[in-house]
Amino acid sequence: MSGTEMSSAEGVRVFDAHRIAGPVPGEPAADPAGLLADLDHLGIDACAVTTSAELLGDPAGAPARDAARTWSARARFLPVPVIVPAVAGAGWPADVDELLATPPAMVRICPRRHRFDPHGPVASAWWAALAGHGVPVALDVTECGLDTAAALARAWPELGLLLLTPGYRELRRLAELLDTAPGVRVETGTLVAAGAVEWLARRFGAHRLVFGSGAPRWDDAGARFLLDHLELPESDVALIAAGSAAALIGQRWPW
């Protein structure tokens, strides 16, 4: 699908920046056709896809590589590979140069699950390289904690960071982080305290907020409805729906 072809029922392009593809424990299995049907059902034009095989399994293993190939072969899916910065032979990919040989639009990290030090010398070299190439990093606040995310944001202000699943209980800390860390964007799907999305948008700008759901573990249906009913100017809604993600991803935005 080309950029000009993207549309939704409301006339606003919608990009879900956070989807998990493939088997997820406790959720019905979905194949690529099923995810496309979900997107159509909710009026979502395209989505960022991280496979469960990379996220919940060994990112370097054959099943993860197979899953990544399977799910990347669709025009409406933007692959977000999981990376593991580590010494040679312990991470994925082998080194940051291999990763940047074909730079992805965005990468995802799981410092706690994969037990690497996001402030260690290896990871620091990767962050510097990613920042230099304009590749943003997504990380799940429920996985690594807001402290880790905030420390990374403050140590690497030039690195684009997308905070996934921030939840509804951390508005004060999120606000302080948005105020002091210019590289940070926040996913909206779990910002479900009453009026939270508008509260952040009016203080820090809609360009800091990115629509994403975290489906199927998190709810996409309510998040999508909330997007349609925000009390914000249309231009702000368009930013949250897709424009902020496009700006974060930059030249590798595919649509």
């Binding site: 406790g26 209980r169 305290a193 009453a194 009026g195 939270a196 249906a221």
Partner: protein, 253 residues
């Protein structure tokens, strides 16, 4: 008619609620099509039941027909059942709200008995927080309560709250007359809603949002955008609540 069976007004100690007011709740509900919301005041849930109930009644009086009131039941107030009973006929009152976790009193505790017996006698429903594995409000304990009190209508708020308990909560609702599932909560997705309805039956599932603790738009969207049938959606969104609340939905009764 769309009836939000689980709402609040007021701020909360543990995090910032940007829009805690009844004015915002009613205005937002109007914009998205929610006709009426049953509220308890978070002051009552949190620390002062009598004050919070008075505040909730005052808000309901400002918005007759748009806000109903769940009177919070305080298990630690020896005179609480009488005070609450005196308020049951106040226009707009829907029934009792139990929060065993914030009050640190198991839902099966004898101190809730007077409220539950009065609810049966007066034919009013009870909404209780429920939380899988909680020592205070596990759905199995709510099922025990409805078994102890024949005729009681008990809504399990949040349907047990955690995803790993939803199936068991739905099975309990299907197996225990009087036990219903209310669906608000950030972990209850549209996919889970569809599964709850498949297990418990659409007649046993009620729409709720937890507004203004949570955003009512996210809560309504998970029902509106679910793949329930039109009949199932109508029951969940308001048909079941209207049946259970009866004349109490009418503030002029």
């Amino acid at each position: 008619m769309i009836i939000d069976a689980h709402g609040h007004v007021g701020g909360w100690d543990q995090f910032l609620v940007p829009q805690p007011s009844a004015d915002w709740l009613v205005a937002t509900s109007s914009r998205i099509g929610i006709d009426v919301t049953g509220i308890s005041h978070l002051v009552a849930v949190g620390y002062d039941t009598r004050l919070g109930n008075r505040l909730a009644l005052a808000e309901a009086a400002r918005f007759p027909g748009r806000l109903g009131v769940w009177l919070v039941a305080d298990p630690h107030d020896p005179d609480g059942p009488r005070v609450a009973d005196d308020l049951l006929d106040t226009p707009g009152v829907w029934g009792f709200k139990l929060h065993p976790d914030t009050h640190e009193c198991p839902v099966t505790d004898s101190r809730y008995g007077p409220y539950l017996r009065r609810a049966v006698e007066r034919g009013v429903p009870v909404l209780s927080h429920s939380q899988t594995r909680s020592p205070y409000s596990d759905p199995a304990d709510l099922a025990e309560v409805v078994d102890r009190h024949p005729g009681l209508t008990l809504l399990a708020g949040h349907a047990g709250l955690w995803q790993d308990g939803f199936v068991r909560a739905a099975e309990l609702a299907a197996a225990h007359d009087g036990l219903y599932l209310e669906i608000c909560g950030s972990r209850l997705t549209a996919r889970w809603l569809e599964r709850l309805v498949a297990i418990a039956g659409a007649e046993r599932v009620l729409f709720g949002t937890d507004a203004t603790f949570l955003d009512p738009r996210a809560g309504l969207g998970k029902v509106v955008n679910s793949r329930l049938s039109a009949h199932e959606r109508d029951l969940v969104l308001g048909g079941n609540a209207a049946r259970l609340l009866g004349a109490r939905l009418n503030p002029e009764r």
